[in-house]
């Protein structure tokens, strides 16, 4: 009978009327990010970093711009750790390259911005601010 398929289809749709909702009320409700989630800013750990620049060398798109200074004891210090989100493709290669696990994703996905300038930030400054707030 012509139209039988249409009615069967309608039944499926109606069946979902009372079913469980698949979506959440963002932003009131947020989904948790997974453990391996790649996204957001880089959370930088100044204590762990040895200034080897392996992360920047490993980056395929030159999204990391590091300035390292060497003091009189030949110890390397990170002066600035600039991450250009506009160039970053979240491939994780920088994090995997780091021998001391000094960087990780902060998993904050709400960083859309109106201005291009906001897409470049200094992870070192952010880390210091975060620490300042905690103390």
């Amino acid at each position: 009978m012509w139209g039988k398929g249409l009615i069967t289809g309608m039944k499926v749709t109606w069946g979902h009327w009372f079913g469980k909702k698949e979506t959440v009320y963002y932003p009131e409700e947020k989904l948790p990010m997974t453990e391996r989630f790649r996204g957001g800013h880089l959370a930088f750990d100044e204590e762990k970093c040895i200034g080897c620049k392996l992360c920047a060398i490993g980056c395929p798109n030159a999204a990391l711009d590091l300035t390292v200074s060497v003091d009189e004891n030949k110890k390397r210090h990170m002066e600035s750790y600039v991450h250009q989100i506009g160039r970053c493709m979240y491939c994780d290669l920088c994090i995997e390259a780091c021998p001391t696990k000094a960087i990780s994703w902060d998993k904050n996905y709400e960083f859309a911005s109106y201005f291009k300038e906001d897409m470049t930030y200094d992870a070192l400054v952010e880390a210091r601010n975060r620490r300042g707030n905690n103390e």
């Binding site: 069967t8 490993g58 493709m89 979240y90 290669l93």
Partner: protein, 365 residues
Amino acid sequence: MAQTEKYVLNMGPQHPSTHGVLQVQVELDGENIVGAKPVMGYLHRGIEKLMESRTYVQCVPFTDRLDYVSAMNNNLGFCMAVEKLAGIEVPERAEYIRVICAELNRIASHHVFIGSLTNDLGSATGMIYAFRDREKILDLFNIICGARMTAHYIRIGGVAADAQDEFLRDTQKFIDYVPEMLDEYNKLFSGNEIFQARMKKTSIITKEMALKFGMSGPNIRASGVDYDIRKIDKYGAYGKFDFDVPLGKRGDNWDRYMIRMKEIAESAKIIQQALDNMPEGPYMAKVPKVLRPPKGDAYHRVENTRGELGFYIVSDGSTKPYRVHIRRPSFVNLQALDTMCKGMLLADAVTAFATIDPLMGEVDC
């Protein structure tokens, strides 16, 4: 009778029914299509060239951006080509995880096909259903690699990280859900009379034409040509699994749709076998930190969701490839568009675009 004049209508690159940034110049005589010429290049990023200035490891994330709805398959193709070039043996567990991910991605990609096809035919409901289920797979990818689409999970020598129990458990859950899912799709649109009327016996590609155009993937199988690289080459762990290659008869839009529905079931079958026989062991081979494949070249092809995806890599013995060429199935398949549209009505052109399933990231590369 009134004299009519042929005229050209531009569909795309921002037309809602062309997939991605595809522009098609449709030549019309009234409402009948006389010719359809795809115009591409809107998404060209020069990935082949970019790869020449990056190390082999750094090249892998770029392959995500070729066919961005089945990134895992692209990763797989490139990594296997490099492994062939450098003579790297991949551990068995990694091979199994690769198969699971590649097949999950095939299902997710077919979801996009079903979703966009039904949407183009005027049923937005259909799209929501397919995308709801695709989301389940993307969540699985989020667990295993932390990204939903641009996976960058399959790496040279294995996979980036081991598959967790959580991932394997949830994959099993999804596989158990597949029959119910397909049943729902069949009820919702396969049985729908309007859907059938628009799909059956439209835009036919015969066996001979499909071969002549060098088509591959579900599009050529819908025309009845038994051509599946998973069966022919048995690359990776595919030789160990038992699955069928569904074939079509007429090569019309309906066959191209049904083939993909059947392929979802076959992919689920493969994943089930991989889950049941998952070996223990390492997930990554010993790959030198600085990879310098010997001088020479290698070609490796895999069955991507859209057809035969091949990577031809030439090495000059340095850390970067001398030249990479990518054989992209969507690009080749798109040749058939003109033949598919000729003699059809304008409204059917949209169906033809949808069932040929081109992905512009791959067409333009």
